[in-house]
Symmetry: C2
Subunit: 70 residues, 2 copies
């Protein structure tokens, strides 16, 4: 799986585990909802700083968002 | 520590553990040596795809490069 698809899957998984909508995550991470949507679909190639913002809003370590979970 | 500084520290650590010069890592990851230097100094904000290329060249998982090691 492409690394951006891995990130997208993880963001969606942790967002849903927190019961957040894409709007809520966007607000918490100070990003746009359409950007969150693009990340989750694996069509965005976020920077490390964006990964850190998403991880912080989701309450996980940044490295967690890059892990391929089985 | 800023996340880009964490990445820089990890890249340098794993590069030296492999006995690679910055030139060698640049060649293996298909990046420019000055870019590697900037990443190691924490002044670059690499994308997830760049993290994957660096990790692949260093023989570690991408998530490893974002981990704050004690």
């Amino acid at each position: 799986m492409d690394i951006n698809a891995v990130v997208g899957k993880n963001v969606k998984h942790h967002r849903e585990a927190k019961g957040f909508s894409q709007e809520q995550l966007a607000f918490e991470a100070d990003l746009h909802r359409t950007y969150i949507s693009g990340v989750e679909r694996g069509v965005r190639n976020p920077t490390v700083l964006i990964i850190a913002k998403l991880a912080d809003a989701l309450g996980v370590k940044p490295s967690k968002l890059l892990e391929l979970e089985e």
